[in-house]
């Protein structure tokens, strides 16, 4: 081979390797992103379950309710950042995220952003010791979870 041909074939090999490596890295990243967000959602689910059960008591422990609400409030504003392009069903990794998240980004952003104000309100009511208010607001929070999931999460 001439030196220019060697250079060309080396460049093609490097490009191919870079492409393959990039794809592999993206696949690894998608898996990590998906696993992290699933873990975060599970933490929120756990907190919801704890509040659900706590609020059923005759005299609920409102400090515990507030603490669980606070946990969810920590996650709420970040939800829309957990879904970068390439982490949907096309990633090849098992995910319950529907493609609609990326085909209807405005709709998803709107649905995801509904949680923060409602969970903040719940935490405030809990800290104020308002049992009836907290019970009602808990149902509203549950509704915001469902509202987003009905459209953007696999059944």
């Amino acid at each position: 081979m001439t030196s220019s041909r060697r250079l060309l074939s080396a460049a093609v090999c490097a490009a191919a390797l870079a492409l393959a490596g990039g794809a592999a890295l993206a696949a690894v990243n998608a898996k990590a992103v998906i696993e992290t967000r699933e873990s975060n959602f599970k933490s929120m689910g756990k907190a919801m379950k704890a509040m659900n059960e706590g609020l059923k008591a005759e005299a609920p422990d409102m400090a515990a309710i507030a603490a669980n609400a606070s946990t969810i409030r920590g996650f709420a504003p970040k939800i829309s950042t957990w879904f970068p392009k390439g982490t949907g069903p096309e990633a090849g990794v098992k995910t319950e995220a529907k493609a609609e998240i990326w085909t209807d980004p405005a709709g998803f952003a709107a649905a995801a952003s509904r949680l923060e104000p409602e969970i903040t309100k719940l935490e405030t009511l809990a800290r104020a010791g308002d049992v009836a208010g907290a019970r009602a607001q808990f149902r509203v929070v549950g509704g915001t979870c469902k509202g987003c999931h009905d459209k953007f999460r696999e059944d």
Partner: protein, 221 residues
Amino acid sequence: MSEPPTHVWDGPTRLFHWALASLVLVAWLTAGEQMNLHRGAGYAILGLLAFRVWWGFAGGSTARFSQFVRGPSAIRAYLSASRQGQAPEHAGHNPLGALSVIALLGSVALQAGLGLFAIDSDGFEGGPLSDRIDFDLARQIAKWHELSFRLIQALVVLHLAAILYHVFRKREDLLRPMVTGVRRFSGPVQGLVRVPLWRLAVGVGIGLAVALAASRGFKLG
């Protein structure tokens, strides 16, 4: 057919059959959406199953498990006689159909039992016993609850296919007797032997108690 109609299924057994089918349908249609109705159907199903177990030991003759759960040799005998068109006419479930009864009752019981402990992904809609276990386990049980419904679907399809086979291929009147309770046989057949009404009262009491207890998460306080 010269014989007068023979009584085969008593009222409670028939009512149980159609109530269970309806409630399983309601539970299926409301799953994940109208959860209060879904849970209510589940509690009613548990009560019905408890009634059926009682009735299977204390009820009318054709409902008794001892009458139709006969074991592998009886099934083999029934099948070979059937193949030769010589299966004797009989009021009640045949030994092979008995497997279907047990499988359907068992799978529905499993489904309702798992539902008691299940919770949705939002931690928001949970069964009455989901507060006794942690979120991860309740989620796992919810997944099994979804899977075991597939088993019920398969068994129901099999049940319907078997009925159609008996009705159209073997010309056996099976659907009407489960509604009216009576069937015309071609020869004399030992019919249903009923039991006193107090046994029905006990059964209904058991069913109601189980349904109510389930709805309260089996808590006594």
